[in-house]
């Protein structure tokens, strides 16, 4: 009875896994299929040859893939660094100091948690326009750095576990506040920083809405908006599209495989919030 039960559970786990792997396999197979193979309508069949690369060639040729990856990298680099610096500064001040405006600031930051980002875009759009950064890489960068505040909470929460006695000891030795932040607080925050960085990298890499809205120019496509240009108004050719889907999926999968541990701990941390 017990063995039967176990077998049943493993069978169930196997079929559920299949539910999550099969779509990716189908896309993988399709990306190596020629137009003639595609027309056979056999999505589960292996391609005639895994060396048929012309879908990938076409995608790289037409898609401006290099530029898109470059743009995404710039956005990621600037917003990750910006978020970590500004987020840790705010967390340091809010976590280590008492001052009158503190409750007000905490309250004000709550607003971003309540108001769905997608709604304010209507009003934000004209502001970005007026600042003269519309259709430049600066627009998404400013928005990512300025509007995302989740890292403040993650840093604040983590900093509670850091002993305050270290700050005091440094203070007795005459270190300035800035020095304590820079030499003690920030380095001790490293585990949280790693988590914030990885979640932020994934977030920016995957965000389609903001780049689509604020950077319509073709040379400002990011990895996430790359595929939109591929649909056009004619029928989608799924073998080309599959190659594109895979090209932009592979980096996420690599990041996931390498940094899984931090991602899971970050999710747990976020959930506690």
């Amino acid at each position: 009875m017990k063995i039967l039960n176990k077998t049943l559970i493993y069978a169930l786990m196997g079929s559920v896994s299949l539910l999550f792997i099969a779509p990716i396999l189908i896309v993988l197979f399709t990306s190596f299929k020629s137009n003639e193979e595609l027309l056979l309508n056999r999505p589960f069949a292996l391609p005639d040859s895994f060396l048929y690369l012309s879908n990938y060639a076409y995608f790289f040729q037409v898609g401006n893939v290099g530029t898109a990856f470059g743009n995404s990298l710039v956005l990621i680099a600037v917003s990750v660094v910006g978020n970590i610096l500004l987020g840790s500064m705010v967390a340091y001040v809010l976590g280590r100091f008492r001052f009158k405006a503190k409750p007000l600031i905490l309250f004000v930051y709550m607003i971003a948690l309540i108001v769905p980002g997608i709604t304010t875009e209507v009003a934000r759009f004209s502001l970005v326009n007026q600042l003269g950064v519309y259709d430049t890489l600066l627009a998404p960068t400013l928005l990512y750095v300025g509007t995302d505040i989740i890292q403040i909470y993650m840093f604040l929460q983590f900093s509670r576990t850091l002993p305050y006695s270290l700050d005091e000891a440094a203070m007795i030795e005459g270190a300035s506040y800035f020095k304590i932040y820079y030499r003690i607080f920030l380095p001790l925050l490293a585990p949280a920083t790693a988590t914030v960085a990885i979640l932020k990298i994934i977030g920016v890499f995957n965000d389609m809405y903001i780049p689509y809205l604020y950077m319509p120019s073709a040379h400002l496509r990011t990895v996430a908006t790359l595929l939109i240009g591929f649909t056009g108004d004619r029928m989608v050719l799924w073998n080309y599209m599959s190659a594109g889907i895979l090209v932009i999926t592979v980096p996420s999968v690599l990041i996931y495989l390498i940094f899984q541990r931090w991602i899971f701990s970050g999710i747990a941390m976020g959930a506690v919030k």
Binding site: F20, V90, I114, V122, G146, N206, A224, S252, I263
Partner: protein
């Protein structure tokens, strides 16, 4: 400089840039949104004050109600997803081989690019060549075939299932984390008292995870009222007709396609109000149980 003064200078200097950016890109647009919602601003000319006209139009518009109904479908489908996540999470807490590998596989879609995932399902849902219909035909279940993305009666569920596929692993992971934090001896004591499997689940597991389940339900809710990408990418912005239009997509549509920023702003305000009401309700529900929500007050 006195210590007090030093502290004040330091605190202000550290808060200056982050708060300035925040005020500019979050507070000001939110304020502006409320203001614009009472005008007929078209993005260019001076805006004229039109009172509650936009709100009247929002309430009377058929498309808005269709959109809201569709958002509700995303919510309900999402709830089924959370139930499935809970089922998987409970399954995985038993001592099983491959549990880690299984968790990694189920979670993976959560970090994949949403655009890529949407298009992937666009392919799977194709009527003739799509894997789902092909598989149904091969299994002799051809009568279950659907025009997944062009039949008005199934399109929303099809799109909502994409979200479920992408997020099941996320909810599973946070539920597993919570389940693992339940002390083992509670279950042992229950067994000694003669409790069966179902009773242990009902009287120990469920109460211990109720807060995180509520959080999940809330996350599903905020996610579903903001649904945008799937219909935007896959059904030609809400088609067929308005059948898969969502609230967020419709407001973006009104703003950037028809330059009706006033109306779109009013819709945004309504959305904020909806989220706020639900959030308050959730807060009260969680508070009731005397839970420690001291963080960030």
């Amino acid at each position: 400089m006195s210590l007090q003064m030093k502290k004040r200078v330091f605190v202000s200097s550290f808060l200056l840039v982050p708060l300035a950016l925040y005020a500019m890109f979050v507070l000001y647009p939110t304020f502006k949104l409320f203001q614009l919602s009472f005008t007929d601003w078209n993005g260019l000319d001076g805006a004229k004050w039109i009172g509650l006209d936009n709100y009247r139009e929002v309430v009377q518009s058929r498309e808005v109600w269709v959109s809201l109904r569709n958002n509700l479908i995303y919510f309900l489908t999402g709830l089924v997803g959370v139930a499935f996540s809970l089922f998987l999470a409970v399954l995985l807490t038993g001592k099983l081989r491959f549990a880690k590998g299984f968790r990694s596989i189920v979670f993976a879609p959560f970090i994949l690019n949403a655009t890529a995932v949407s298009f992937m399902f666009g392919f799977l849902y194709e009527t003739e060549s799509g894997a789902i219909n092909v598989a149904l035909r091969a299994l002799g279940l051809g009568f279950l075939e659907q025009r997944w993305l062009s039949d008005a009666s199934v399109v929303n569920v099809s799109l909502a299932l994409i979200v479920v596929w992408k997020t099941v692993g996320f909810y599973m992971v946070i539920l597993i984390a919570t389940l693992q934090s339940i002390p083992e001896d509670l279950y042992e004591a229950a067994v000694i008292d003669g409790a069966g499997k179902w009773q242990s689940f009902r009287f120990i597991t469920l109460p211990c995870i109720s807060d995180i389940v509520k959080l999940s339900v809330f996350l599903v809710f905020t996610g579903s009222v903001q649904t945008f990408e799937q219909p935007f990418l896959l059904t030609g912005q809400g088609g067929p007709g308005y059948a898969s239009m969502t609230f967020a997509l419709y407001s973006v549509h009104e703003a950037f396609q028809f330059s009706r920023y006033g109306l779109a702003s009013a819709m945004a305000v309504v959305l904020i109000a909806i989220v706020l009401v639900v959030q308050l309700t959730q807060h009260i529900l969680v508070r009731e149980k005397g839970d420690n929500h001291e963080d960030f007050k």
